[in-house]
Symmetry: C2
Subunit: 209 residues, 2 copies
């Protein structure tokens, strides 16, 4: 959480901060982190974040667009999870699993030291409040489009199975660093893991008789 550099424009204004002031932006992000952490993702509103930061809700929308955009910025995530998954699903079901895994690996591998993602995962494992936040975010922005794309036979279970494999990939590759999972390239991993994602979403869940 490095503070944003302060605005170099004139500091003398009636309210002490104003639209366009990077201090205001940082204040909104701090309020968002507090509220997401305290009340979870679903219960946090743009309006409540604005009130806590002492700004107009329109300013929050102006800076961050949606609640998901605000969450992405507050946690310094490399991509907005609410935009990724629907985009992948929109490209069709053929090869969906491999695209999901490639995108997942691209984001994690492309984030130096896996900084904010690893921090989110570590805190979710260490504290129940952070686990509740991750559970909430996964449910609202990540699992929902997967559930919608899944076979009508137990779609929510299917989406949570996908989540289990992706969480295990993150922990195994970037935290525990099990080899050769940790050293393998995306071209090797994406087909192997993508077929699992495809089967969880669309294939038979029960053992063939």
């Amino acid at each position: 959480m490095t503070p944003a550099p302060h605005s170099v424009r004139s500091p003398a204004r009636r309210s002490g901060r104003r639209p366009g002031d990077s201090g205001t932006r940082e204040q909104i992000l701090a309020a968002a982190r507090d509220l997401f952490g305290a009340t979870g993702y679903g219960a946090t509103t743009i309006r409540a974040v604005a009130r806590r930061a002492g700004v107009d809700p329109a300013l929050v929308h102006h800076y961050f667009g949606t609640k998901s955009g605000l969450f992405t910025a507050a946690l310094e995530l490399p991509a907005d999870p609410s935009e990724l998954m629907p985009g992948l699903v929109a490209q069709g079901l053929d090869g969906l699993g491999e695209r999901v895994v490639r995108t997942f690996l691209g984001i994690w591998d492309g984030t130096p030291g896996q900084g904010p993602l690893l921090a989110l995962l570590r805190s979710a494992v260490a504290s129940e409040a952070a686990a509740a936040l991750l559970r909430d975010v996964l449910g609202q922005v990540f699992l929902r489009p997967l559930t919608a794309a899944a076979s009508p036979d137990r779609p929510a279970l299917r989406a949570s199975l996908v989540a289990s494999q992706l969480v295990g990939l993150a922990v195994g590759r970037y935290v525990v660093r099990i080899d050769p999972l940790a050293s393998a390239g995306p071209d090797e991993l994406a087909p192997a893991l993508g077929a699992t994602v495809d089967r969880y979403l669309l294939g038979p869940l029960d053992r063939p008789a």
Copy 2:
């Protein structure tokens, strides 16, 4: 780490402790925890644990059998991982994945609050030393029999893919508690996840052309 109750037998002996003294047993376990934590699983020997505890190596063998048995007792794990996996593999390849998942779920679900297992997982995610220990144990006692049972096309990668799914199952079900993964029963989960384990071990890793 609750201390073992002290022996009620006469305390007056030359060395101050002796074989059969539950204080000695606890001393060996404390030495084992120190050494496993400091040097990892592979580099820790029964002899070094005995030296640190100030007892004869034969006494360590007497109490705990193998190094893996000592590790199991030191971390208060509900089962010795070095005995589980070879036993499952020995029952044959047919249905192996489902047996692996059922055994995994049985151990986790059967451990109240998932105490020591969850502690091991939490510390592995929080600290690099604990992650190194888990990586080492996984490699030496868990992945080795899976690698031996896997198809000759990249067997070590296959075993590590299995580990990624099981780690993700543990984190998703018991830590983040993603529903319905967290609430589903073993009869629903074991076939769905077992088929993944079977494919990782024996099936095609690449996408069919």
